[in-house]
């Protein structure tokens, strides 16, 4: 479990997350099928792709929660999976992953304590950020879906990790608060935090520094939104994605083969 520092990797400063040829299969399903990526420190990456394209599985591989069938992942120079590296990673799962009978403050306090942060100040700071300061004592069962997403994000941020993996963080969050989330992500990135945000919708893509399009377990395109549009000659990112996936504007296969969609997530 001990992470071995990779000297070659350490030498290339500025790269926070690196994956080389990672693969993960579930029986016959190639959930992640040979992904190479490099995430630079202090940038926000959008991981975009339809349901079942392998975003969640890729994030779980990057956090070390899943063992790759092939390939390697390094986070901040440590080979994953590694327990020490975990305190430097913030992972927001796609599922709710909260204790429904515990209050907002208790949920947050529990995970903060596991991370060695039990100070009230740290908790108040993130609660303020997600605007749940007035719901500290409410049990999670009494919160709306959007509030639960906000609490989940607060838990992810409480130990101020330099690397964030956020799996569909803004689902169910109202537009005003979404704007606030993004400005906070931007502030964190400016402070050197590396952020990977998975989403199956394109509407937040423009807020990212760089995009990774995923389909069928593979990264089919990477670059800024502008680059991806220019490269495919598309008006918008949806079209760019479809072109890269080899589909026409109606989502039908253009040429060789159609992509199979996985389970809805």
């Amino acid at each position: 479990m001990t992470g071995t520092a990779n000297p070659a990797f350490e030498a290339r400063r500025g790269v926070a997350v690196e994956a080389t040829g990672v693969r993960k299969t579930f029986g016959p399903i190639h959930a992640v099928d040979g992904v190479d990526l490099e995430l630079a420190a202090g940038r926000i990456y959008g991981l975009l792709g339809p349901n079942g394209s392998g975003k969640t599985t890729l994030i779980r591989l990057l956090t070390g929660l899943a063992q790759p069938a092939g390939g390697e992942v390094h986070v901040l120079g440590t080979k994953m999976p590694s327990r020490e590296a975990l305190s430097r990673i913030g992972y927001m799962p796609q599922s709710e992953a909260l204790y429904p009978e515990l209050s907002v403050a208790e949920n947050l306090g529990f995970f903060a304590r596991l991370e060695g942060r039990s100070g009230r100040a740290a908790i108040d700071r993130v609660l303020e950020l997600v605007e749940l300061g007035d719901r500290r004592g409410s049990p999670v069962l009494e919160l709306s879906g959007g509030m639960r997403r906000r609490l989940s994000l607060a838990i992810t941020l409480v130990h101020e990790p330099p690397v964030l993996f956020l799996d569909e963080p803004t689902v169910g969050v109202d537009p005003a608060l979404r704007v606030q989330f993004w400005s906070h992500f931007r502030r964190l990135a400016a402070g050197g935090t590396t952020i990977l945000v998975a989403s199956h919708v394109m509407d937040e893509a423009d807020r990212c520094d760089e995009l990774l399009f995923m389909r069928g377990g593979k990264v089919i395109g990477q670059g800024t939104g502008r680059e991806l549009r220019a490269r495919t000659g598309s008006e918008n990112l949806e079209d760019a994605f479809l072109r890269l996936a080899g589909l026409d504007s109606e989502g039908r296969p253009l040429g060789d083969r159609g992509a199979v969609e996985g389970r809805p997530s």
Partner: protein, 392 residues
């Protein structure tokens, strides 16, 4: 290992309980209600009058027996009624109809037998559907007959001397009831059962709710999670066992208030040995149930499936653990299985301490404690092994 993280996990479990009144009720109130009910049923079982019908085929001498029986029955501590019926068929009919419990047939050969020195035979007819109840009735009838034997001598001959039997016991008092013997054991059994059920379900929720995955994305280790659980549920098991121990051992008389009749809180079972040792045995047993619950939750996908483990895990321990039938009397195969069950050692330990007054110096108690601790540790390791980083 970080004590801070273990404490954090334990604390989270306690916080979860605090808002869950139903579960708290299940843990603290239900076992007491069940114990109280059990004590009530076993203690206050009505010994209804035994109804005996006599079919006298022996004429005058038979009448003398009937008279003597009736006199003895009237004087007996335990109620018994005696009447006569015309013949065996009538007696069978009466038993079938539920009008009488036992029929005694006094044969017409009685006088001949007595004069010729042959032992006479009395036939007793019973229903034959409820062995336990009938055994009790026979016992009372026999006690009566023993008193009577003196009067059945041949006229003129000296009355035979029938010794009275007085019962003395090594451990419990002779009039110890089933409750005294079963209470110590149920003490351990309930703790085990509830702790197993609660941990199994809690941990299953942790797995399917995604919180286990979130946990594993923090620096907490698998061992810390299992120990945190053991500590968290251990606190509840401790409280539960303390309450149950107090309930079993004490008896507080509550006087009648207005329309409410006087009643007793607690079962007032006497423990020969240390209540602390009793508590320790029950607690170690319960702690083993925590990791067993975590381990088995791996094999369940829904809460219902955790409940389905009850007949597999809990019931066999109840049957084979020596609660009702001693291990030595089990068929070889089952006895061998019983030796692997923690309940076996807990039952033995609890009985040694509560009934026989054994202390830590007793080798039987030492073996029980060591084996129970060993089983608990074994499951801690096994449970930690089932918590994979990869939870899918």
């Amino acid at each position: 290992m970080s004590a801070r993280r273990i404490l954090a996990v334990a604390r989270r479990i306690a916080q979860g309980f605090r808002r869950d009144e139903r579960t708290l009720g299940l843990v603290f109130v239900v076992p007491i209600v069940i114990m109280a009910l059990l004590g009530w049923v076993l203690n206050e079982q009505k010994d209804g009058a035994v109804r005996v019908s006599i079919v006298n085929q022996a004429g005058l001498i038979g009448d003398r027996i009937v008279d003597a029986l009736q006199t003895a029955a009237a004087e007996a501590d335990e109620p018994m009624t005696i009447d006569t019926l015309a013949d065996v068929d009538a007696a069978r009919e009466a038993i079938r109809a539920g009008d009488t419990d036992l029929a005694i047939v006094i044969p017409d050969s009685l006088l001949d037998d007595l004069t010729s020195g042959t032992r006479p035979t009395l036939t007793v007819i019973s229903e034959g559907t409820d062995p336990a109840a009938e055994a009790g009735r026979f016992q009372r009838l026999q006690a009566l007959m023993a008193d009577l034997a003196g009067q059945l001598a041949v006229p003129g001959a000296p009355a035979p001397i029938v010794p009275r039997i007085e019962v003395k016991t090594v451990y419990l008092s002779p009039d110890a009831t089933t409750v005294d013997v079963l209470a110590p054991v149920f003490l351990g059994y309930f703790g085990y059962f509830f702790v197993f059920l609660l941990t199994g379900i809690s941990f299953l929720r942790e797995r399917i709710g995604g919180t286990l995955e979130r946990l594993l994305a923090t620096p907490v280790t698998r061992g810390e999670i299992v120990l945190g659980y053991t500590l968290g549920f251990g606190i509840f098991a401790t409280l539960q066992v303390i309450i149950l121990t107090l309930f079993v051992l004490s008896a507080v008389e509550v006087p009648a208030i207005g329309p409410i009749p006087a009643f007793t809180i607690g079962m007032g079972v006497e423990s020969a040995g240390s209540p602390v040792l009793t508590f320790a045995i029950a607690l170690i047993l319960s702690l083993g149930a925590v990791s067993l619950g975590i381990f088995l939750s791996t094999f369940a996908r829904t809460e219902l499936q955790v409940i389905q483990f009850i007949p597999i895990v809990i019931i066999p321990q109840g049957v084979l653990g020596g609660i009702f039938w001693p291990i030595d009397q089990l068929p070889d195969v089952l006895a061998a299985i019983a030796r692997f069950l923690p309940m076996t050692y807990a039952v033995d330990g609890l009985r040694e301490v509560m009934l026989k007054g054994a202390d830590l110096g007793s080798s039987a108690v030492q073996v029980d404690l060591v084996v129970l601790t060993g089983i608990a540790l074994f499951f801690v390791v096994l449970a930690a092994g089932t918590i994979k980083r990869e939870v899918a």
